[in-house]
Symmetry: C2
């Protein structure tokens, strides 16, 4: 396991877009970002350049318009962030986090069944 990844809020937003898009230019990322946020193009560019330095992203600079890709794994990063939250706010209890989340969010019957199926699988093992 490598040293822990600790992206900022803004960086996570960008990572999330790249995790979904796969690979994208600054412009693409910026436009997705602009849907929920309000910052200039050069701001997004700068953030992604910094993320490149931090090795959160890689880029293909063979063309003039560079194409960026996330090089940190989605599940692993999510796992680390969730873990951190569990430790600092939920006294280390993952189940407390789960209960908190279930308590605050409506879920479709299908989703609940999915969780139930998952729990069943866990017990059988």
């Amino acid at each position: 396991m490598k040293q822990p990844i600790k992206p900022t809020e803004s960086e996570l937003e960008i990572l999330n877009i790249l995790w979904t898009e796969g690979a994208a230019t600054v412009r693409t990322v910026h436009e997705k970002l602009a849907l929920t946020k309000d910052a200039g193009y050069t701001t997004t560019l700068k953030l992604m350049q910094i993320m490149l330095e931090k090795k959160l992203l890689s880029r293909d600079a063979s063309n003039k318009t560079h194409v960026y890709t996330a090089i940190v794994n989605r599940e692993q990063t999510q796992g680390q962030m969730v873990q951190r939250m569990i430790e600092t706010m939920f006294n280390g209890s993952a189940m407390q986090l789960v209960m908190q989340t279930l308590g605050n969010h409506k879920a479709s019957k299908a989703e609940l069944n999915k969780i139930r199926a998952y729990l069943d699988g866990k017990v059988k093992k």
Copy 2:
């Protein structure tokens, strides 16, 4: 709903201690903190003073040794932090967060049953 609360990592650690302790002096908080962290006493003091300014904490200064209390609600703060994480990393899907968490953590049979009971309750309604 008030303006969103956005404590830093260090602030959350302190909040968590105060949520558990109820009310405490800087020294008490610092000693709990020192179990997992490594910073000087004045650092903890300063952080708590800043949190006082931000109105995350209140204090009783009637005695020379001040006594601090968290004035942000535990469940509400947890909820907001979880919500932020869901939005920035899980594309707004709380269930994805739940699945991620269940996938990465072992749970006792008792805990699993507790969750299952909770899910049953949700469906009945």
